[in-house]
């Protein structure tokens, strides 16, 4: 790191606790995951601490394991757009980032929804573009499992291009509302009709006139989440921020260098794409206190039943007869198609189940761990454990060392799990001059230091407009 470089400002976001076992619902402090009050409290804590934005994940089919609804984690979520639009009414500055799938939606409707959210929040909308393909999720939608896995980023890319063309289709057109003259819009072309667009590619054949004016941010901020090579390339080409998962400083630095290095190919600068990994945290009064609390949280996150269920995802077979406090199952995993667990992205990470089980056995033998202990150890995602001072140190160190541009914090308690961080860590970061004490601007682009993008007007060919 160059000594001359000014200290980077840290970006912080609040991930509403999700439906993974990271979220501890058995704790007495755990509130509703669906009542609006929980979202209001969570958002207001984040805004009080001057966070950049709130982040909301999405799921489109309840997870199943062994042919039954998976019941050990939080189940149930609200609709993304609806809850974010309502939160716009109880916050003033906090960015509102919603995860919306590019497979089981169509560009015209999604563009309408994000443009609307941007208007209703005065420029605070962001879209985390995710892909999926599986026929299991498709059973809830008109087209079923229509998309081959290897085409999912191809469709996402076309989808985002189409949506961009729609967001920009009112470029130069403003509501003038001149009552005396009787002219509602200004900047219209001779057709007198706003919003013309046409998209023709492998995925979409659409044309017409978009019916929402350009929002305050021009376009909503675009996030990409996903670690694959295709995902990184998609982010480098088209996203404003990337939501990643890298636990160590070194892994974070490698990822950061990799994705920022891809930007040049698209004529973009390193500052045009923010790297914002997910991070969990546990605070304590002393380092020892924090470690003990973290250990306790881990045991809450991985009950015996959760440990068995997690092992079943790796072994791809029924392990209900095994004791979670006993040794690892003495059988081999079932290779081939995953049949035990459905609707869960993490299953994809077990690309070589035999190798992973071998690692687990080595770990168990070396440390004398039970099945549950192993799962606790291998699924540990607590990145920041310590006192408020040490966590502030760590966060600042990661950002200044280019392992990230900030973090999307994932508390394990709904809705108040962020309060300690907001009250204890944020003031330290503010004192050090690396985190804002007041919002300088009003839009999420302002908070993230992203310029309003140049409109990408659909290219005119033969008087028709075609986005490529």
């Amino acid at each position: 790191m160059s000594v001359d470089r000014p200290r980077k400002q840290i970006h912080l976001a609040a991930h509403f606790p999700g439906v993974n076992n990271t979220t501890v619902w058995s704790d007495p402090r755990s509130g509703s995951h669906i009542e609006f009050d929980s979202f209001v409290r969570f958002a207001q804590i984040a805004e009080r601490a001057k966070f950049d934005f709130l982040f909301l994940a999405e799921g489109l089919r309840l997870r199943e394991q062994g042919g039954q609804i998976y019941d050990l984690d939080v189940v149930g979520r609200p609709d993304t757009f609806t809850v974010l639009a309502a939160l716009a009414g109880v916050t003033d500055r906090l960015g509102l980032t919603g995860t919306i799938n590019s497979t089981f939606n169509e560009p015209y409707e999604v563009a309408r929804q994000f443009a609307t959210l941007d208007h209703l929040s005065d420029g605070r909308a962001a879209w985390n573009v995710v892909t999926s393909w599986d026929a299991f999720t498709g059973e809830n939608f008109r087209r079923g499992g229509f998309l081959p896995q290897e085409r999912r980023y191809d469709r996402a890319s076309s989808f985002l291009d189409a949506a961009t063309g729609l967001f920009d289709s009112w470029d130069g057109i403003r509501v003038e509302a001149d009552k005396a003259a009787g002219t509602f819009l200004t900047g219209l072309d001779p057709s007198g009709v706003p919003g013309a667009f046409a998209v023709r590619d492998d995925h979409f054949d659409i044309e017409g006139h978009f019916n929402v004016p350009t929002g305050p941010q021009g376009r909503p901020v675009v996030f990409q989440a996903g670690d694959s090579d295709a995902g990184r390339e998609f982010a480098a080409a088209a996203a404003d921020a990337i939501f990643s998962m890298h636990g160590t400083l070194e892994a974070g630095q490698a990822f950061y260098a990799d994705v920022k290095g891809r930007l040049g190919r698209y004529g973009r600068r390193p500052a045009d794409l923010l790297v914002l990994p997910a991070a969990t945290f546990v605070l304590g009064d002393t380092p020892q206190d924090a470690r003990e609390r973290a250990e306790q949280v881990r045991r809450q996150q991985v009950s015996g039943a959760t440990a068995i269920a997690f092992a079943e995802q790796l072994w791809n077979r029924d392990l209900s007869g095994y004791d979670p406090d006993g040794p690892l199952p003495d059988v081999d995993p079932v290779l081939g198609e995953h049949t035990v667990s459905r609707g869960r992205a993490s299953v994809r990470h077990f690309r070589d189940p035999l190798a992973v089980t071998r690692q687990w056995r080595e770990l168990a033998a070396a440390k004398g761990l039970s099945l549950r202990d192993v799962v606790i150890e291998v699924t540990a995602r607590q990145i920041f454990v310590g006192t408020a001072e040490s966590v502030a140190d760590d966060i600042d160190r990661y950002v200044q060392a280019d392992a990230s541009d900030g973090f999307i914090l994932v508390p394990h308690i709904t809705p108040d799990g962020l309060a300690d961080f907001a009250d204890k860590v944020v003031p330290i970061l503010q004192e050090r001059g690396v985190f804002r004490t007041e919002y300088a601007g009003t839009t999420l682009r302002d908070h993230l230091g992203l310029a309003v993008p140049q409109a990408r007007p659909c290219r005119a060919t033969d008087g028709r407009l075609v986005a490529s």
């Binding site: 669906i34 639009a85 169509e106 939608f141 009787g182 929402v212």
Partner: protein, 401 residues
């Protein structure tokens, strides 16, 4: 005399195309939250049962077949479900009934959106389901063919068939969103620390809907909403040659059917047709209103707006211009045809809404036709509808295997 129910239909700057040019109009704020919050609060001040919010998949146009290039009219709109969600935290009693377009959207998404609207409004959600029969709207999505036709012409057999199919699909759509609302039983979230189970999965249900147009597995990702079943509304629109099809859809699937009688006798016919066609709990008549105020009659305002627009205002609904007392007389008279309420479409916003709230409602209260305070916390409550049983509750044993 029983109370009549009152809904206010919000759309842009009001239902007259020149309404945005009124001195009190706020056309430059149509795309801001504050505009809609103010309108919803005004309607709530008038103790209305609900507001509806219009929507469409294409630009507003005087031409059914496509954009008309009219820059002297409001063009552009926001997604109605989100407008409703945005005003929910700023209101406390009034029902929120956005339009959801069904022809090009996913029932799974719309079901959870309205369930979530019910959560964020604490039981005040409804949805007005509407088809998109315009070919140009279909081109925006590109997934299905809809023939280009002119509704002013007698429909060809092809058009009759397509529109029939769209309503048929809309019926399946409403059935799917209703089943999804029931796909979680009340109390399915058990948080049983002893067994580590967050939900009782026997109380979550695949809906396994397989229709001619739609197949949806379920369950919803969103738990059963506070009202159990948010209120479903549909406009049983008069459409030449197709008149009965919209009525059969609305009466067969909606709790609240909106009709557009052009006079009292027509109201009698329509109410009868709706009740013959299905079990809808409520039938409201739509009326566009231009009310008299000091210094200007409603008729004068309408004529002034017509002159600005260069066209005589026409509507699918009855257009009333006159005094508050005359409108109250009309509502009381039409109520006797069996209508349970009215959806008033203010000619100009906010003026005609404020006249409804500040003049018409007190007049109706004085006649014993309107509530003097909100008597319920949910939209179903305001409409006198009980919270329904869950259709899957009786099948809990061995439900989801």
């Amino acid at each position: 005399m029983t109370h009549l129910h009152l809904a206010v239909a919000l759309d842009g700057a009001g239902w007259h195309p020149a309404a945005w040019r009124e001195p009190s109009a706020r056309p430059d704020e149509l795309f801001t939250a504050g505009y809609w919050v103010d309108l919803a609060r005004s309607a709530e001040r008038g103790l209305a049962d609900l507001i509806t919010i219009e929507d469409s998949f294409g630009l507003q146009s005087t031409d059914f077949r496509g954009p008309d290039g009219h820059n002297d009219h409001v063009r552009g709109r926001l997604d109605a479900v989100q407008i409703a969600a945005r005003v929910a935290p700023a209101t406390h009693h009034i029902g929120l009934v956005p339009t959801a377009l069904v022809t090009h959207t996913e029932p799974f998404h719309v079901s959870k959106a309205i369930a979530t609207l019910d959560y964020v409004s604490r039981g005040r959600a409804g949805v007005r389901t509407q088809i998109s029969p315009r070919a140009v709207d279909g081109d925006h999505v590109g997934r299905r063919y809809i023939p280009d036709f002119d509704p002013a012409e007698p429909p060809t057999p092809e058009v009759v068939e397509v529109v029939d199919e769209l309503f048929d699909e809309a019926g399946e759509y409403v059935e799917v969103i209703r089943r999804l609302w029931d796909s979680w039983e009340d109390g399915a979230e058990i948080r049983d620390a002893a067994t580590g189970r967050f939900v009782d999965r026997n109380r979550l249900h695949h809906i396994d809907f397989h229709g001619r147009h739609l197949s949806v597995k379920g369950p919803s990702i969103t738990p059963r909403p506070p009202q159990g079943q948010p209120v479903v509304a549909a406009l049983a629109h008069a459409a030449p040659g197709l008149r009965n099809r919209p009525i059969r859809f609305a009466a067969g699937h909606a709790d609240l059917v909106l009709v557009t009688p052009y006079d009292r006798a027509d109201a009698v016919d329509l109410v009868g047709a709706v009740h013959r066609a299905g079990p809808a709990a409520h039938v409201f008549a739509d009326i566009v209103t231009f009310l008299d105020r000091p210094g200007e009659t409603g008729a004068e305002r309408r004529a002034r707006l017509d002159a600005l627009d260069g066209n005589e205002f026409g509507s699918d609904a009855y257009v009333f211009a006159g005094s508050v007392a005359a409108l109250a007389d009309l509502l009381a008279d039409w109520q006797r045809t069996g209508l349970s309420g009215f959806r008033l479409r203010p000619g100009a916003l906010p003026d005609d809404l404020n006249l409804i709230v500040d003049s018409l409602v007190p007049e109706l209260q004085a006649r014993g036709l309107r509530r003097r305070s909100y008597e319920a916390d949910t939209l179903r409550g305001l409409l006198g509808l009980a919270r329904p049983e869950n259709r899957y509750a009786a099948t809990t044993q061995g439900a989801l295997v």
